[in-house]
């Protein structure tokens, strides 16, 4: 069984035990330089959290199926790159569900995904979005110096949030 399969089992077990569970979704294109920052934050967090309580996933884009994963989470954290803002600037937003109609089929926004989870499953988790403003979105697998500098600060901030929520942090 691969890592994702194991995470599914862990998620099911945690849900069955009615433990508070967090879901961290880092998304973007890791082949487009700074656009991959969400992906990298997720990877850095994976080794530092209690996997039985916190599911960490990386993906190119959000999809409607993630509504099902949001269903069993008490806390959801999205991490994405932003094209606006000063390079390396990171922001933390609290999100509410928001209907964004046809945008769904080609990649919903976090708020749209929450709306779908609410409509389908009655899910109402606490949701946060962290964004890091990039400067380079060209082909490449490395980050600009500004985004590189922001990386540990964003990871630390999410860890702080997860710890405060009662979800397990094993290191850091």
């Amino acid at each position: 069984m691969n890592g994702n399969g194991q995470r599914d089992l862990i998620r099911d077990a945690a849900a069955a035990a009615l433990l508070p569970r967090a879901l961290v979704i880092g998304y973007g294109n890791p082949l487009r330089s700074d656009d991959g920052i969400g992906w990298r934050v997720a990877q850095d967090l994976r080794g530092r959290v209690d996997a039985s309580r916190i599911e960490v996933m990386e993906c190119q884009q959000l999809t409607p199926e993630m509504a099902e994963q949001i269903r069993t989470a008490g806390l959801v954290v999205f991490v994405d790159a932003a094209a606006q803002g000063a390079p390396g600037e990171w922001r933390h937003h609290r999100l509410r569900a928001e209907d964004s109609g046809n945008a769904l089929s080609h990649g919903p926004t976090p708020a749209a995904l929450l709306a779908l989870a609410a409509d389908l499953y009655g899910a109402a988790p606490e949701v946060h979005l962290f964004t890091v403003s990039g400067i380079s979105f060209h082909y490449g697998e490395s980050f600009s110096p500004e985004v590189t500098q922001a990386l540990p600060r964003v990871v630390a901030e999410i860890e702080k949030l997860l710890r405060a929520s009662g979800c397990g942090i094993t290191a850091g």
Partner: protein, 474 residues
């Protein structure tokens, strides 16, 4: 006065396109054109790459059906190696291909088309989307999410990831199936079957509300083409090519997919990047044919699994010959999901499925290789030529959406002639013109070798080419 109506962009499809309708002096539609405005170019930029890179490279054509390209490309490479892959590897590839069909059909039916089917073609566009479905019928929405997830999970469990798995390689697959993974997939099957059966029961009542659309959505005589195996069942992974006419008569059978150039011609039009394949004996454009779920269920004598066979009998009783209305692509998709789940179950129960010999190795034994399989949208063909070093010198791809190009154009014309009169374009008209294309579930990124964001641009022009009206949707 004559007018041209342009729909740009066309929504809830994969890719970029626009539609042009030309009306005459009486306000009746004279001609319709589906313009695919993106170019991918995979056939050209793969030249010079080693053949063994092709499965992974070609799977990047699409994020929805990468598995179909992966498998078909690997089959073309098998032909270059001139190997017969181990039986277990073939069965594992079959499971992966069926999982691809399930997740893609679920996307098409639940995410893209169910808003029209549940809420109606004239519903407020602000509501006619997956959110509207989730509010109006959450069970249907949950079922769609779960079914797509099922297909993706099977792909992930076998191939390591949901999108662009690299598990299928020339000569077979790169790792056998574990008993634990098999059991995990088997455990998900009852729920997937239950959702599909409930959805079919709902749809068979629901589609009665769409009599007019059934009558006018690309409902015309044409040929149908697809892979058939054992002379009676759809050949999703392999088989021989069969052509059938509108009466249900087989016009060509047992055709070798590797000899496709003998019976399929390819035409290009200056107005679109999507080429137009046709059945050579009838010429262009008379050799129009359709592929995909509707074609596959028309071409076969059964599906080959118990529950799907029962549904197939009911489906084929819709008409005396072939089922002609492209509206029934939706119905056919649901039956194919049912069949695919049953077939995956049967393959997982096969005694060979946990076999560990899953790859045949060889060096280059042929300088040409052709692979064919049934992708969710229809027959997919990859054709490569290599030099002695195994570098690609030439490639040709015929994608399901391309096979359906002539039929989609004709379908748009039929719908436009039925619904467009005078100079007023209502949202319901706009949506029906889009929906006839949506029934085919075209994948434009697949078929033109641009990043897929599909919108619609409907333009009304006069015979002199002057733009008289334009309706767009982003």
């Amino acid at each position: 006065m004559t007018r041209t109506i342009i729909i740009d962009p066309v929504t809830r499809l994969e890719g970029h396109a626009r539609i042009t309708l030309q009306t005459n002096g009486e306000g009746e539609v004279d001609s319709a054109r589906f313009h695919v405005t993106q170019l991918r170019g995979f056939e050209k930029f793969c030249e010079g790459r080693p053949y063994y890179e092709m499965p992974m490279l070609m799977s990047r054509i699409c994020g929805i059906c990468p598995v179909s390209h992966l498998i078909t490309s690997a089959k073309a490479c098998d032909a270059i190696l001139a190997v017969r892959i181990p039986p277990t590897a073939a069965k594992l590839r079959r499971i992966l291909n069926l999982a691809q069909i399930i997740q893609s059909h679920a996307l098409s039916f639940f995410y893209l088309s169910s808003p029209d089917l549940l809420l109606g073609m004239d519903a407020d566009p602000a509501e006619r989307n997956l959110f509207g479905v989730a509010r109006a019928n959450p069970e249907l929405g949950r079922g769609g999410v779960r079914l797509r997830q099922f297909g993706q999970q099977v792909i992930e469990l076998l191939g390591g990831k949901r999108i662009h798995p690299g598990w299928v390689i020339p000569g077979g697959v790169n790792a056998p199936l574990s008993g634990q993974t098999r059991d995990r997939i088997l455990a998900m099957i009852p729920e997937a079957l239950s959702i599909t059966q409930k959805t079919l029961a709902w749809y068979k009542i629901r589609f009665e509300s769409f009599r007019e659309e059934i009558r006018t959505f690309a409902n015309f005589p044409s040929l149908f083409m697809g892979l058939v195996t054992g002379t009676e069942r759809p050949g999703y992974y392999d088989g021989k090519i069969r052509f059938m006419d509108a009466t249900g008569k087989i016009v060509a059978d047992n055709l070798d997919p590797a000899k496709y150039t003998e019976y399929i011609g390819e035409e290009v039009e200056p107005s679109t990047f999507l080429k137009s394949p046709y059945y050579k004996p009838l010429g262009y454009p008379k050799g129009i044919y359709r592929v995909g779920p509707l074609a596959r269920l028309n071409l076969s004598e059964r599906c080959g699994t118990p529950l799907a066979d029962q549904e197939w009998v009911e489906f084929r009783s819709l008409e005396r010959g072939a089922v002609l209305s492209s509206f029934h692509y939706h119905y056919a998709r649901l039956i194919e999901i049912l069949h695919s789940i049953e077939r995956i179950h049967a393959l997982l129960d096969d005694s060979e499925i946990l076999g560990t010999h899953v790859r045949a190795t060889a060096s280059i034994n042929s300088l040409e290789g052709i692979g064919a399989s049934e992708a969710p949208r229809g027959t997919l063909m990859h054709h490569y030529r290599v030099n002695e070093e195994g570098l690609i010198t030439w490639a040709n791809l015929i994608i399901a959406t391309g096979h359906n190009n002539l039929a989609m154009n004709r379908g748009i014309l039929q719908v436009a002639r039925h619904y467009v009169h005078g100079d007023k374009l209502t949202d319901g008209i706009l949506n029906r013109v889009e929906a006839v294309i949506r029934a085919f579930d075209p994948c434009l990124s697949c078929s033109t070798h641009a990043v897929g964001q599909m919108g619609i641009d409907l333009r009304l022009v006069n015979p002199a080419g002057d733009l008289l009206d334009r309706a767009t949707r982003q």
